[in-house]
Amino acid sequence: MTAALIIDLTLWGSVAALAFLVWRRGRVVLVSAAREGTMDFINIVPRIGLGVIGSGYIAAIIPQEVITGWLGPDSGWLGVLAAVLAGAATPGGPVVGFSIGAVALKVGGGPPQVIAYVVAWALFAFQRLILWEIPFMPAKFVWFRAAVSVPFPFLAAALAMAIGKP
């Protein structure tokens, strides 16, 4: 619970600090900026609502054992490819990808494959793109960013193979 509290404190602290900076430019500016932010919020809520409430169902029908199986040991570049696909398919949320990565390591998954998996999941987990990124950002930017991110889990796996495990 404390981690969440710290997050909330820094978050609202930053909001307050910025509000102060805006306020120094005049009360009217602050009011109009606050109104704009609130309008963004109102527009985004239904989309986030659909995403958050829907994501539980999407997560429930993707069997995690299947994903773990894809990260098999010594699976080479084919395994990296499978890991990247699995990362993209894994539901978002802060925990799921890391947990699956941990399980995969425990059952003998190759570290470069697990790296590729975690990086792919962080970069373009499909569900996070839809749930978080699209509601806030121009869709064109989001797809563009996801597309240019595709090579990087492979690069991470290559680096992992080159420098080896710590």
Partner: protein, 169 residues
Amino acid sequence: MIMIGVLVAVSATLVWRRDGIDGVLEILTHDLALFGGILPRVLAGCLLGAFITEVLPHEKVSRSLGPNSGLKGLLIGTAFGAILPGGPFTAYPVAAALLTVGADFGATIAMVVSWTLIGYGRAVAWELPILGVDFTLWRIVISLPIPVLAGALGRFVFVRMYPKGEPPS
């Protein structure tokens, strides 16, 4: 939106067929609670984005994070993403604000990618406890070059896709 709605409806139906109405309701209550918890943070993120748009001087941003900001712009984006507090509810509104005030796709990509890969928030709160110190540090070291490279690739592709500098809409 429609696509997501359909996807959710199909998933919910599959859950219902498998687990019955109890399974559907259990997920619904859990996600509603999650949604309620997230809402204030989403509001904070939206306000943050709106205030940043107001505070940041547009010419300065387009100079230091715009299409001609070079490697420096990508590095600034990366550093900014790495230190940004909060979760997706801050990162994406702030990134959208940067785009509005004149950052280009490349620098914004560097920022978003840096936030997801080397931002401390998620690593400290979730990755360390689950995957351990060794793996997390190893993963972060390997990820260090990625934001700048992704931003550079983004710029490279962008000027070829939109040679006339089509504004991001």
